[in-house]
Symmetry: C2
DNA sequence: TATAAAATTGTAAACGATTACAACGAAATA
DNA sequence: TATTTCGTTGTAATCGTTTACAATTTTATA
């Protein structure tokens, strides 16, 4: 396959001139430009990004760290990132860590070894120490899940406020005995959403019953089912459930249905994330919508700015409570 | 950041020796190896993949072309590809084409420009002419969706046989008036699955009613809802529905529920793909399971073999009918 | 027309690795 | 001890670009 030397020879110019044509520099005469373009066409030449990237000391690849591709929560964010990245001539490498440190390290190595120019981390289980250390020499942005201490810029929503609104909505439509399906509190969002839950209850002087708070190990459907099973078997059965993810909520929905109870008449349910499927369940799910696509584009833009050497500030985006059938007869 | 020259200097050896240590070559004395390793540690050296890749004329990146990340069908396949790729030191670039030729071309350019070593195409809407042309000079594998004419090796399942079994199952449990929700017949799998549908009916001498075949533009949930709405309004309402994707089937499920009918008592439903969500609906969905993870690993292995210059043969994998609640009271 | 200034093009050195080949020293053999 | 052989290490070319800087040509000015 042809290289730039051969094109130069064919066109009767120097490699520098070919390179200038390639990069659209204006200092080239129309006549020579045409000569070069003809040669390129004739030889079917495609400039090698391997050469260019080495010379420019960049890969134009962005790493996206997520725990599970299968989690639909990330889809729109990824889409947003991709759109922003492509528009600035970057490509994205989607990295599923499976919350496995070994895999994580494979991907970290990619940026250490210059095969990626930066990282957008969305993995709550990321090794934050390694990430922080990496951030000293490389461009990194946290998206959705973050650690304040790390000093790494982030884009996210106000989880506490969002949870607060969700629970307040349940109270407003008459519920007092409200269960919370939460995940492990090692995750910041879990702590924040629980804080919102407490705040809403306390504000209305509803006593908080710790037995009403259920913890799951992961965010998946089965975990929601399992938690709901326990809730249904509890002594003083709650009339409403707030789950910190849609998948948990959908699992809960299914369990309630199987149990022979009806949503929202017997038990109201609220989820979190507004994944596509939250609209496909029966009944449709009331949930918190995050501006995911926007979060993605902003994260990508922040990262690219950072790669260029700019200082970037963390951003907190708005959210929205979407009321659907699971909380309104 | 340190490069190989500096490491060589620090260790008091030549760059060749450092390179040999880096690549684990056995011709290096234990003593010098230690010297080099010490220097590497001291300088915090990480070999640049940009340099290595240029020299080796490879990128160690595989492109995966899919129409929509949001389609859960691809998840397990992607996972399989990733596992196989990582184990051979390749990374994957997930490319959502959105069935948009422009985007497609961005990604094709990546392999033309050597930033990717090969492509696994899963996009039914891919421009097969361009793909075929590209396959002359680059390694390409088709996965799941394919074109026989292109001459590009593929890995897939027997769609006709799978559809045949699905419909045969419906007939066996007593249905004769069976609707088909299909997509545009420009897609090979749509034609194949329809053929399977016909075959099952013809085999039992059930006349085929073309009015019972519904076409959707895409595979999404809403399209299933919409098709089902038409089916429910038809004169001689079918007692069973076979949809060529789970998302279509789930849309149909929801529509039937909303209409006040019950699945499977009034209408039985069968989907295709066994996506995660097919188990979360109420009732759970009878569907065709494809060995997706395996399909992914095989596709990746085929591609890597092809990159290495080997000849690879197309493969057809087994499938399985998974009977769940939507076809069994 | 001669000269200065501006625009265009070319030369050659990077970027950071790998590797054929040459050179060297130590061990083996005579 | 002299010679051969083998195992280690070094030298320098190479992969394919981009870009300072130098050299050349063109245009503007006197």
């Amino acid at each position: 396959m042809a290289n730039i030397q051969q094109v130069a020879k064919q066109a009767g110019v120097s490699v520098a001139t070919v390179s200038r044509v390639l990069n659209g520099q204006s200092t080239v005469t129309a006549k020579t430009r045409i000569k070069v373009e003809d040669a390129i066409k004739k030889l079917n030449y495609e400039p090698s990004l391997l050469g260019r990237n080495l010379r420019n000391s960049e890969s134009r690849i962005l790493l996206i760290l997520i725990p599970k591709i299968a989690n639909p929560f990330y889809l729109d964010i990824i889409n947003g990132i991709e759109t922003a990245a492509l528009s600035q001539n970057y490509n994205i490498l989607l990295c599923e860590t499976d919350s496995n440190p070994e895999r994580e390290n494979i991907y970290f190595d990619l940026v250490r070894k210059k095969m990626a120019d930066g990282i957008i981390s969305m993995d709550p289980a990321v090794n934050i120490d390694t990430l922080t250390e990496l951030a000293e020499r490389h461009a990194i942005i946290q998206c959705s899940e973050y650690s304040e201490d790390s000093g790494i810029p982030y884009v996210t929503i106000d989880n506490e406020e969002a949870a607060y609104r969700a629970v307040k909505h349940l109270i407003k439509i008459g519920h007092e005995n409200i269960a919370l399906i939460n995940t492990d509190e090692k995750y910041l969002y879990a702590r924040q959403r629980k804080a919102g839950y407490r705040k809403a209850l306390e504000e209305q002087n509803i006593p908080i019953n710790e037995d009403n708070i259920y913890y799951t190990q992961q965010l998946g459907f089965e975990y929601g089912q399992h938690a709901m099973k326990k809730i249904l078997g509890s002594k003083n059965r709650p009339t409403a459930v707030f789950a910190v993810s849609d998948l948990l909520a959908i699992g809960a929905l299914k369990e309630i249905n199987s149990y022979g109870l009806s949503v929202p008449d017997d038990i109201a349910v609220v989820g979190f994330d507004k994944i596509d499927f939250s609209n496909m369940t029966n009944p449709t799910l009331t949930t918190i919508a995050q501006p995911m696509h926007r979060m993605g584009t902003i994260a990508a833009e922040m990262l690219i700015d950072k790669i260029k050497g700019a200082d970037v500030e963390s951003i907190i985006l708005d959210h929205e409570l979407v009321i659907r059938e699971s909380t309104s007869g």
